[in-house]
């Protein structure tokens, strides 16, 4: 890794200032499980890393059954799935947070870093979208909020402007009879990049679907919020036929490519299979909720 300056910011303001001073030559550091690899591999060249982990607000994880969940941008995955109340309220997010890398990666890697890295394969992003999460952003021009489905703009690129940081991710409190799930396909059980990933959430009234959100990983340059797929189920009974219709709409929302992990055709097939499974699991969890 070439020489770099390291700044451990103590406050949001200090981080924003330190980043804005250097423009594109500075970036935030959270768990480092993406950015250190990119710097060492020469895929990124920076003059300054601004560590987010000493900023108290970015390390907070707060959950309240009525106001919902707020995940500080630097909170590592293990803290999120290790919190029993959070785990039962946000099952789709927990599915995703507990399958990132192995235990070592989960000890450092954050959900905020996963989102800001903006990989098409980022596992927590479809789960966050399914859970209607919102990104809280601070920058030189003040604070703003962006729904997670609008956060990623291209592979590795986000809506964040120079000097802006992600402060936290806010996830609304789940409604009664809410269920969610994230599943992915990889060639082995752990430690690989999703060939396809699907996040789904659902609110049920009896067997009738009153809300449904579906999002996809690794099937387009950015994570895909498949609005038509979710809409296909709303107002309908949670039957096999309707689930199949939603999974076909999910397939239609994707623009997969062929690469070493699979052909476009194979990915399209997987979207169908995984969407059905994610929906069935979300329905099951909604019934138990």
């Amino acid at each position: 890794m070439r020489p770099i300056e390291y700044v451990a910011a103590k406050t949001v303001q200090e981080a924003v200032k330190s980043l804005a001073e250097k423009g594109d030559a500075a970036r935030p550091l959270a768990g480092g499980t993406d950015i250190i690899v990119q710097l060492r591999g020469g895929r990124r060249q920076l003059d300054r890393l601004v560590d987010m982990k000493a900023i108290p607000e970015l390390n907070e994880l707060t959950y309240n059954a009525s106001s919902g969940l707020r995940i500080g941008a630097a909170v590592p995955c293990y803290r999120v799935y290790g919190d029993a109340a959070v785990a039962s309220a946000y099952p789709g997010l927990i599915d995703a947070a507990s399958l990132i890398g192995g235990i070592q990666i989960q000890g450092r890697g954050s959900i905020g870093g996963n989102l800001c890295n903006a990989a098409p394969s980022g596992d927590t992003i479809p789960a966050l979208i399914a859970h209607s999460a919102v990104a809280e952003i601070a920058g030189p021009g003040g604070n703003r909020e962006v729904p997670v489905e609008d956060f990623c703009t291209a592979p590795g690129r986000t809506v964040l402007q120079s000097g802006e940081i992600l402060v936290a991710i806010r996830v609304p409190a789940p409604a009664a009879h809410f269920g969610a799930c994230y599943i992915r396909f990889i060639p082995r059980n752990e430690m690989d990049i999703a060939v396809v990933g699907v996040g789904a959430s659902m609110v049920l009234d009896g067997n009738k679907v009153t809300a449904c959100r579906i999002a996809l990983a690794s099937v387009a340059p950015i994570p895909v919020y498949a609005t038509a797929a979710g809409a296909a189920l709303v107002g309908k009974e949670a039957t096999e036929e309707n689930i199949n219709a939603a999974s076909e709409a999910a397939q239609a929302a994707a623009t997969p490519i062929s690469d070493m992990r699979g052909t476009a055709e194979y990915r399209t097939h997987l979207i169908g299979v995984l969407t059905r499974r994610a929906l069935q699991s979300a329905i099951q969890r909604a019934k138990e909720a």
């Binding site: 890794m1 390291y6 768990g31 235990i103 070592q104």
Partner: protein, 161 residues
């Protein structure tokens, strides 16, 4: 850019330890090249193999993905801190008895990772051991003997830390 060294204070294997490092040096490089603690191994240098596993503030991490400067104020355990003057740790003993190593390059990482598991969960199932160790790769043993060694160590330790 001038390579300005940072003064870092840690607790390393139970002893207050200070070092100077540059911000682009990983904790792995600091351990091996600055502190000459070469028990921690480098395999991939990108987070995939777990050979560089150390325990940092109670969590296992890949030291190749931690910067030396990030360790300020932290409490680190490396393989050098696992045995005591009285002898090997039961996990180390179980690795020997089960022939759970061949070339041995992965072994320090597996032992540090397994120790953290048994401290948290004294009686893990075989499936749990395999899941916990998914971030540690071994090119020689085929894993079965490693998993058996960890389960045996758990039994020997009888739920004790």
């Amino acid at each position: 850019m001038a390579a300005v060294k940072t003064h870092v204070r840690t607790t390393l294997n139970g002893e207050a330890t200070e070092y100077l490092c540059e911000p682009n040096q990983s904790l792995l490089e600091v351990l091996r090249d600055v502190l000459f603690l070469t028990g921690t191994k480098e395999g991939c240098n990108d987070g995939n193999c777990g050979a560089c596993t150390v325990n940092m503030d109670g969590r296992i991490v890949d030291s190749c993905l931690v910067l030396g400067v990030e360790a300020e104020g932290s409490d680190i355990l490396t393989i050098e801190g696992v045995a005591t003057p009285e002898g090997l740790h039961p996990i180390q003993q179980a690795f020997l008895e089960n022939a759970a190593l061949q070339c041995g390059i992965c072994t320090p990482g597996f032992i540090v990772a397994s120790k953290a598991l048994l401290e948290k969960e004294p009686n893990p199932s075989e499936a749990r051991v395999r899941h916990w160790l998914a971030g540690n790769l071994c090119r020689c043993t085929g894993y079965d003997k490693i998993v058996k060694a960890v389960v045996d160590a758990a039994n020997t330790m009888g739920g004790k830390k």
